[in-house]
């Protein structure tokens, strides 16, 4: 019962924050583009050569068409959920790996900790784009899922670091010491005593990781290394740059993906900064 009340109080605090409310509303809007959108828009027009090329916005094509013969409204409706899916998938995998490494390295200490911490530090120093490039250039013909896995391999470091720091203090708590003295196995202590206390931080790290994953994904796509046959937002910007939509005055081509991406990043930022306040009570009291 008390646990339930605790959760309810947390949920209340989450929504009490204006930032969180705006962030979630924006996020729902963006998810709505992909879920409600297909009811009104014919998604098949996002395929190349399905409509007349280079048409400005009109009643027939509300956001015009591009040089590849795609209707931009259809591309946005088809592409926004692809970009979100890639980000969420990469974030989930990355944070799962990061939390596991953070738990192991914080709880056991010693040489596993030294190895994991060094690798984390090294990976944090290397610009993610540098590794992504080498991987994406070698593993060609990627689809959205492969891109997500590639990006996930580079988005576990932050989660590993914050979870490790948290576990280091939790490990010394009385209840953990008690569990150890009562003969509980390491596995049980980690999963039943420590993990539940990591959830808020892991969740905050997840939102950050999703945002970072989308950032990396767009970067790879803008350079032309994304999935060639999927109309994601990043690929739309790539095509627009490639066909010089900017200097040709075709604002309806490049502006929609940029606006959607900006809203997406702002939503994720608002949610993650509001979550940080909940996950780190020390920050909350200082503001």
């Amino acid at each position: 019962m008390q646990f339930l009340r605790h959760i309810l109080a947390s949920v209340g605090r989450v929504f009490a924050s204006l930032r969180m409310t705006i962030g979630i509303v924006l996020m729902l809007l963006l998810v709505g583009i992909g879920t409600v959108g297909p009811l009104f828009v014919d998604v098949s027009k996002s395929d190349p050569i399905s409509v007349r090329t280079n048409q400005p916005p009109s009643a027939q094509h509300p956001l015009g068409t591009d040089s590849g013969g795609r209707e931009l409204v259809a591309v946005m409706v088809a592409g926004t959920p692809q970009t979100l899916r890639m980000g969420v998938l990469a974030g989930l995998i990355g944070v799962a790996v990061g939390v596991t490494l953070g738990l192991v390295s914080g709880y056991f200490g010693g040489w596993p900790d030294r190895v994991i911490s060094t690798v984390t530090d090294v990976m944090l120093t290397i610009p993610p784009l540098a590794i992504l490039l080498v991987i994406a250039a070698s593993v060609k013909a990627v689809n959205v899922e492969m891109l997500a896995v590639i990006i996930a391999s580079l988005s576990w470091m932050y989660a590993a670091r914050v979870v490790r720091a948290q576990v280091l203090t939790l490990r010394e708590q009385n209840y953990v010491q008690m569990a150890r003295l009562s003969g509980m196995s390491n596995f049980n202590i980690i999963f039943r005593e420590i993990l539940p206390n990591i959830v808020p931080i892991a969740f905050a790290a997840l939102v950050g990781a999703i945002s970072a994953a989308i950032l990396s994904g767009i970067g790879i796509e803008v350079l032309g290394l994304g999935p060639q046959d999927t109309p994601t937002l990043g690929m739309t910007i790539y095509w627009a740059l490639l066909y010089s939509a900017f200097s040709r005055g075709m604002w309806w081509w490049w502006l929609p993906p940029i606006v959607i991406l900006m809203l997406l990043f702002i939503a994720l930022f608002l949610i993650s900064s509001a979550l940080d306040d909940v996950a780190n009570p020390r920050l909350r009291s200082s503001q």
């Binding site: 060094t118 530090d121 090294v122 990976m123 944090l124 120093t125 290397i126 610009p127 993610p128 784009l129 540098a130 590794i131 490039l133 080498v134 991987i135 250039a137 070698s138 593993v139 950032l215 990396s216 767009i218 970067g219 803008v222 350079l223 032309g224 290394l225 910007i237 740059l241 900017f246 200097s247 005055g249 604002w251 490049w254 940029i258 991406l261 900006m262 990043f265 702002i266 994720l268 930022f269 608002l270 900064s273 920050l283 200082s286 503001q287």
Partner: protein, 330 residues
Amino acid sequence: MTWGYVLRRLAMFVVVLWGAVTINFIVPRLAPGDPTAAVLEQLAARGQQSAGAGDIVAAYRARFGLDDPILLQYWRYVSNTFRLDLGTSISYFPQSVSGSILMALPWTIVLLGVATVIAFGVGSLLGALLAWPGSPRAVKALAPLLMVLSAIPYYLLALIVLYLLAIWTGIFPLGGAFSGQAPSFTPAGLLDLADHAFLPALSIVLAGVGFWALGMRGAMIGVLGEDFLTLGEAKGLPPGKVFFGYAMRNALLPQVTSLAIALGTAASGSVLVEVAFNYPGIGYLLYNALRASDYFLVQGIAFFLVLTVAVAVLALDLVYPLLDPRIRRQ
């Protein structure tokens, strides 16, 4: 500063570079197909009949030594890379990969360096003012704007800035780094260089200012309750002196730490900004290399990105103890 600290940082530097080289070595070998076949295929696809083609393939066969044991190949690759012998570029043949990169690198370093310093300085000052109780209301009203700016990636801002200030209003040049054939270092030439660098730098600065301001605000709030501030005020020091000498100086330390971490992201971001503005640095070279499927150049650029960031982080790590006496004493 103890020798142990310096040695640990140097070891870290070497480990980062070694990690980058190892990834460069392993990843293409995990991918299906062998590297020379890919090169041959590309040359055929480009319809290159020149006498140079045979040389390139021979050069790559020798470089990869594909019949040698894998450890020998690895050793050769590592030692070649550390001597900056990164092979021959296909799209810029017969120029070497390191040659092409070294020509583009100064543009990136100057652009990224200047923009980062400006963003760091302006952002830290704004962030400190946001947290300071005595600062004007107009500054505090900036907070939401800065938050929004910090959330938007560099290159999306770059594209918006490009459209608004270069295409729509035509105030600044569309792209490139200089007018005419080559940059000149006369006063007019330098002005022209600055004119071209302004927009790419502006988009990096705009995105960076918010990030640094938010970090600084957090650090400043932490410092505000400290006893030494009360002491400073009680001694009757002017507010400016308490702000800069007592509060900001202490709050700046964690910012310098994040500078080391943020450099990697900044380098990645500026690569894409260069693509948007056709700025002739590493990013633009990379874009061309990708379009020409010049994988050796792509790998070389990836290595140089890591090298640049690693050098900057090492420099910051070695400067840090001079700023923070607590680290010196450890």
